[in-house]
């Protein structure tokens, strides 16, 4: 005969009804049985589980003495032989959310028990802990507490019973970045056509891959006075010094190179290479000015059409660049160019 699942509920000072911000420095403690929202949690868990204790801590205390708080709280959890820790829901409260994530991760690691936290997806604790623990997306509204606790209870019980956990949007938790192979009912071609037909009809459809969102850029003001300008050349076509001494990646770049071109009037084929897995680099290797037009820009510099060519060509191989990495590379290059007084950039792309 199986015993009841032993559950512990973590609350902050507010939900434990000790006080508001004025009591945010209350030290960690424990009470027997469910308390406050724990009553709704007990109801959601049903008869096969019991909230044996409620542990609590002031949000400021946790933030300022994290190691201490975790030590004490884990002690309470261990003492009561818990099978499952449920923390929150913290909704939008950042300190509370971070505390929920931290205590859950610690309990999972140190005590090997199952854990479930709840908070809004924008909560600071969400991004910090979503990969290591299950976090139910509570949204921002405290009015939804009962429904959120239902989801947390259901997920918690599944974890304790080692049942297969379904997809994030099905079970209500924040995606953990885990990929799992599944056999779909329909082949991809059919699913794609179904999606397209729905889109054409104006019916709702669910993209299987989320389209990345790009931040809207504010355009730079038009360049005034070209004759006084320092113009830089940048490329994502993988221009490198012959032999690629810095071993710039041909694809999925994480770095870039800054090729010094002081005194260089044109890119000679035997001094420069193009390294890039996304296009045939033969023509660029034959004449690297086809990739980065240094020869032309030097002409314009000699003619005083522009004041100066910037002394470095910043370059990376842009094949399959992860948006995050591309952004970091771009920002780093931009910082260097700004510091050097560059006011215009020609970026050649393959």
């Amino acid at each position: 005969m199986s015993e009841k699942v032993r559950v512990i509920h973590y609350l902050n000072q507010f939900f434990a009804q000790i006080g508001g911000e004025d009591k945010a420095d209350v030290a960690p403690g424990a009470k027997d049985g469910p308390f406050g929202p724990g009553l709704a949690l007990q109801k959601a868990l049903g008869e096969n589980a019991e909230v044996v204790a409620t542990i609590l801590c002031g949000d400021n205390y946790f933030a300022e003495h994290e190691a201490q708080a975790i030590e004490t709280l884990c002690g309470h959890i261990a003492q009561r032989n818990a099978d499952l820790l449920v923390a929150g829901p913290a909704f939008e409260s950042g300190r509370y959310g971070v505390a929920c994530g931290a205590i859950c991760q610690a309990a999972q690691e140190r005590l090997g028990i199952q854990v479930v936290a709840g908070m809004d997806r924008e909560n600071a604790g969400a991004d910090l802990y979503r990969k290591s623990i299950y976090i139910v997306d509570s949204g921002a509204s405290i009015a939804k507490t009962a429904a959120v606790l239902q989801q947390m209870a259901a997920l918690g019980l599944k974890l304790v019973r080692h049942e297969t956990i379904g997809r994030p949007n099905l079970e209500g938790y924040l995606s953990r970045g885990v990929k799992r192979n599944e056999i779909a009912a329909k082949p991809p071609a059919e699913r794609a056509v179904d999606m397209l037909l729905a889109k054409l009809r104006g019916a709702p459809f669910q993209s299987e891959i989320a389209a990345p969102k790009f931040a809207a850029n504010k355009p730079a003001a038009p360049l005034r006075d070209l004759k006084a300008a320092t113009i830089a050349l940048v490329t994502d076509g993988g221009l490198v010094i012959e032999g690629n001494p810095e071993k710039i990646e041909p694809g999925r770049p994480t770095r870039y190179t800054s090729i010094p071109i002081q005194g260089v009037e044109s890119l000679a084929a035997d001094r420069y290479d193009a390294v890039h897995s996304g296009y045939d680099t033969a023509l660029a290797n034959q004449d690297p000015n086809r990739l980065v037009p240094l020869d032309t820009l030097r002409e314009l510099e000699r003619e005083h059409a522009i004041a100066k060519v910037h002394e470095f060509i910043h370059s990376t191989g842009g094949a399959h660049a992860a948006v995050e990495n591309a952004t970091i590379i771009g920002q780093s290059i931009a910082e260097k160019l700004q510091a050097a007084g560059v006011t215009g950039v020609i970026l050649t792309s393959t």
Binding site: N217, P222, L226, L283, I306
Partner: protein, 52 residues
């Protein structure tokens, strides 16, 4: 690739010599190719001076 450039927020983008040779054209004789490259660079510099 201009639509891609515009989608990710590159507001000043001009069509150039093609993917394998952005500022070149190997079908042209060398002096003509240099002229072609110069014309492209001038267009790029002009675009930098325009309002978007």
């Amino acid at each position: 690739m201009i639509p891609v450039a515009k989608e990710v927020g590159s507001l000043r983008a001009i069509a150039a010599g093609g993917i394998v040779s952005p500022t070149g054209n190997a079908d042209l004789a060398p002096e003509k190719e240099k002229e072609y490259r110069r014309e492209l660079v001038m267009r790029a510099l002009k675009t930098l001076q325009e309002e978007v």
